[in-house]
Amino acid sequence: MKVYEALPPASVRLGFYRAAGPWKDVAVVEFGPEGTMHYVQSNVRGESSHFFATGLKERQIIFGDTENLEKAILEVDEQLHPGLMIVMSSPVSEIIGADLRAVCFKMQSKVHAQLMAWDPVPVAGNEAQGKTIAYEKAAAYLKKIDSILPAVEKNGVLVLGLSEVDYNGISDLNEIRRMLMDWFGLKLLNDAFGRYALSDAKKAQFVWVVDQEALPLASTFKELWGTPWHYSVPYGFSVCRELVHVIEQTIGISHQVQWEKDIQEAELILRQFRTGLESRRKRRIFLDIRPARMKSLETFLATELGMEVYCPSAQTSALSTDGAVIKNPEIHKDDILLASGLLCALHPENNAFCMDDPVVRHKTFSHHLPLMGLRGAENFLTLLYPFLL
């Protein structure tokens, strides 16, 4: 048993839902009480109307009855016509030993969608594990249906792991969209909210993976259709340079003149910031975001900007305890917080900027204030500078 004083880590299940949020041709049916689904939908930002619970009731628990689940599968198939329907267990259905694989096997011939069971869902774990499982299931689905997918012309870039589900995701995605178009004339295949149909991934000529948990899916694209991919979380200037190089090498197209203009401007801004920073008191940055993004942002802040960065581990790796309370990581009064909304809000005395899981006060209205990409890096400097004064 692990005891958390304030912020328990997000679960495997939530990670799965967050990964599946942007998939247009996927539905998820959870054999569980409806309260958990309500919580899920409050915690998955953006579209979540393709996630369902069966509203597990006492009589189903006592008699092990799965009739309600079977009806739910038929209803979702008829209403949403998903290509893939994932049937997921809940902590309660696991305790009563409901066999969801058997249900999927029984129902497969009655529905259009490919049914896949996720049973059991690990009782403990972290968000990243759940995302990995989701991407693995998506990969398995594509392998299964590849033979019936029509031939398509490859035209455009697909981004995996960045969408409206992510805090500031639409802004970040819009910057990526701009970079690809302005620098290479490439179009982004994700829609305005970052959503896409798994079966449309075949159209991509290049895949940019922003979440490392999406790598199994990117590898499957390569395996099935030879689609090249590149993984980077685009925080900072050097990641953008690297990306330009990778696209030139893998797709074989040269950058356009806009890239040179943009990078020259960015270099000038970076020099101005560093000069400004030299005359200012240095303050530690307390960086506590999801692990997949931590490394890239830390590199940008520490290596490119020359700042002192502290990355705690307590948030992301739950310690094993025998009932002792896991405390929040220690935050110094002068620390600049770049962290989850809740942690920022719990430390109103610190200069803080929300980077994930916002609370109400962090609602973003603009879709054009990126923190990723080249303009995102410039925005970061603007954001940090007043904190250093």
Binding site: M1, P8, A10, R13, E34, L56, A124
Partner: protein, 421 residues
Amino acid sequence: MRLHEYTKATDVPHYSCAISPGKHCPLFGVGVVFQGMAGVTLIYIGPQDCVYYAQTDTLLRQLASGRTDGSQVRTLAVQLSDSDFIFGIRPQLEKLLEEEVLRDDTHAVFLVTSCSVEVLSEDLKGTVDAVSSRTGKRVSLIPIENFKTFSYFEGSEKAMVSLTSGLKTLPRKSKSFAVLGARKAGAEKSEPVRWLLEKGYTLQSILPYESNAEKVEHLTEAEFTLVVEGCGLEVAKRLEQNYGIPYVRFDKRLDLEHLTQGWRKLGKLTGEDCEPWIQEQLHEITSIEAMVSAKVSGSTFFYNQKVLYPFEAALFLTKLGMIPTCMFLGSAMDPDDESRDALVEKADPILWQNANQSTIKNMLNTAIPDYFVGGIMSSIAQQYSLMTFTFPINRVSTGFDFYKTCLHQVLSAKKWEERIK
């Protein structure tokens, strides 16, 4: 299911077996009650999902209400592993409970279980009682079973009862009263509370929204209590039964007879003559009702309001001449059969649990009512050319004021396109 077939709330069917998003979990209901309870430690125990959501929601709620200054409950999330479910957790849990309850500023500890823990039937009551008897301090269990409940209200009700059980009898404080059931700010502005304050009465506490462990311990000093929402009703009954503290119900906000009775009881308890004022209010209400009836009588309606007592609200509209044809039951449920029995004499609407918008659309395809009461997507309201209105959902408003506001809401109902103009 038709109204005449109704047996209990949990038997009302969902339109779909696939539910999205579903109702709040009762764990949420517990968090709502405890959010401002300084001096209390609330421990959620269960699998990672349940404790993550419950804990995060409680913390977010505290932030939203500006409680980061120590005037909030201390919450802990106890996340169980596979082996905990198999081998049990009693020794570690006892140690944790003991440490918590012996903290300097802690008056009481409440252990809140989730579905999985309840399904396993581990004897947590025994654990809690053992720690309580060893330390001489208050440690209580609040068992939560989402799969047995109709809505999160039951979590709030259980939490309220648990919070106020085992209180000591204290000497009454003259001219003092407490408000029960207010889960949001502003109960002091509601009609009966305002009136009592004007008459020089002291508001002992507003439970749960503006209370804390110390105030709860002094609850039995109140001369009487006012119930403003259903989750406070059971506590009021117990306070009367166990400590002789009378209560006045203002939770039946759309039942004019009960409202009037409530005011008369309040007059009796305070020794004030309210009758002339009550008559004035009833006279005014009668004239507004006549205007509303002239507009809506004979019109059909769908009902989809979440937090008022649904049968009482439907009966209120039926008395104005309207005819309910379909009702979507949300989170609140009438605490007794009175309104439902009266309603079934007049109408027999179809009942569904907690509709999502696609369910609403499917039902509109079977029969289009004249009015839609409660939440509906503007595009759907427009598509079916519905007159729409929503009753105020501020759960602490009550009294003749609230009743009149609701009448005016009906009177000002408009079609969506007229609303935009």
